[in-house]
């Protein structure tokens, strides 16, 4: 039996968001920080708020944007990493037994 490390990302408490024309507006009530996501980032955020898994998101977006899945995975990962750095997402390491 092997362990494949997956990372679980969640939103900190106090993050609220709204879909506005052409952008997603996010507010952290605790820090008063705001984010305005547009384009690809807004699309990714909206899909994630619908509960779309990472794998499905890669599949859907690579079909829509006509990009190879590997490239889409990289692009999404960059997006998620930026959001982590900015405080929109926080990380918990969990071990998933494969």
């Amino acid at each position: 039996m092997s362990t494949h490390p997956f990372i679980t990302l969640t939103c900190p408490a106090g993050i609220h968001w709204v879909w506005d024309s052409g952008q997603v507006i996010i507010v952290d009530e605790g820090t008063q920080n705001t984010w305005h996501l547009r384009g690809f980032d807004a699309l990714a955020w909206d899909y994630l708020m619908l509960g779309t898994s990472f794998h499905d998101l890669v599949t859907i977006l690579s079909a829509l944007m006509d990009l190879p899945p590997q490239e889409m995975e990289t692009r999404l990962a960059d997006c998620l990493r930026n959001w982590q750095i900015g405080g929109l997402l926080q990380q918990k390491e969990e071990a998933v037994h494969g």
């Binding site: 997956f6 969640t10 939103c11 993050i15 609220h16 879909w19 507006i25 708020m49 990472f54 969990e94």
Partner: protein
């Protein structure tokens, strides 16, 4: 400006009241129903130090305060103009206290669609209220809170001409109390309401009566033609969502009643109103980029500073808590 809450009690049961749930909570917490004379005096000192020219008294129903006449005298002695927000079915003592003040010293804003809790028809009859309006005369301004898309304002025109009160009607839009249960006018219905207001605005103008808007109105609820006509006939119309802090009995100041549970700060009467207001504004600043509609954040009226985007409570209703639990391969996230 600042609003002084002097009474948490009200004998109305208006379905659209955005203060009801909050006031009920405060009452069940064991907090007092009325401001003490000593605390009121401190509030007046605070207003004087903050150079606020108008003393605004509200509730609940402020005239239910057992010492309302005394509070009124205390306020009058400060040499400031007094504004009282009321449903208009005043007890004789409160009415007499208001009548005793010169017409230039006090203004009374009467909510003309207040909904009495009691079925006491003689106490809450239109006839009785009209008699009260006549007695207050030019001290009085009519107000009306629009909470359904169908409403009739025409009777107010006749009432004004019969009673000799100010030729002004102040319109309000019933706003949602955040985490509350009041009836309110949804922004989706604003265009229908805008048409009706524009139509009434013409009749009011012909009768020599000016309209004023309370907070939360937006220019896009009117067609361009209606907006132009309204602004020509009623130059005091505006698009506001700008806090006049409400100073509650227990030294809490809040942004406005709809946001009372969320946007508040403790204050002491040694402070200045500007500092209190700034603290409240700071709490809601991140949400100001948005508005009551999706389109607000890219709307010319908003970007030009003409419109703040409608009521902040309605805006906040649009926001959702971000709930996500995403499992990502660790290898994917390694830079």
């Amino acid at each position: 400006m600042a609003n002084l809450i002097i009474s948490r009690l009200c004998d109305m049961a208006c379905s659209y009241c955005f203060a009801r749930d909050f006031m009920k909570e405060q009452s069940t917490n064991g907090s007092p129903h009325f401001i003490t004379l000593a605390d009121f005096e401190k509030r007046l000192d605070f207003l004087t130090r903050s150079d606020i020219r108008e003393i605004r008294l509200l509730g609940g129903e402020p005239t239910l305060h057992p010492d309302f006449a005394t509070l009124l005298r205390q306020a009058y002695q400060r040499g400031r103009r007094i504004l009282v927000f009321t449903h208009g079915w005043l007890e004789e003592s409160a009415l007499a206290a208001l009548e005793a003040l010169p017409e230039t010293a006090v203004m009374v804003m009467v909510n003309m669609n207040a909904q009495p809790r009691s079925k006491n028809e003689s106490k809450y009859s239109p006839t009785r209220r009209e008699q009260i309006l006549k007695r207050l005369g030019s001290r009085l301004t009519l107000g009306y809170n629009i909470h359904t898309p169908v409403f009739d304002l025409e009777p107010l025109l006749d009432l004004i001409s019969r009673t000799g009160i100010r030729h002004v009607i102040r319109l309000g839009l019933a706003q949602p109390a955040l985490n509350g249960s009041n009836t309110y006018l949804h922004p989706r219905l604003y265009p229908v309401v805008g048409q009706r207001i524009a139509h009434f605005g013409q009749a009011a103008s012909r009768a020599g009566i000016k309209l004023e808007f309370d907070c939360g109105f937006v220019p896009c609820m009117f067609s361009a033609d209606d907006r132009q006509a309204m602004q020509h006939d009623h130059p005091d119309l505006g698009w506001h969502c700008d806090p006049i802090p409400d100073l509650d009995l227990d030294d809490q100041a809040f942004h406005c009643f709809p946001l009372a549970r969320k946007v508040h700060t403790t204050f002491n009467t040694a402070e200045d109103i500007t500092a209190i207001r700034d603290r409240l504004i700071e709490q809601v600043k991140p949400y100001r980029i948005s508005g009551i509609y999706r389109e607000c954040s890219s709307c010319d009226f908003k970007m030009n500073g003409e419109c703040p985007g409608g009521c902040l409570s309605s805006t906040l209703h649009r926001f959702h808590p971000a709930q996500i639990r995403l499992q990502v391969p660790g290898s994917a996230l390694q830079p």
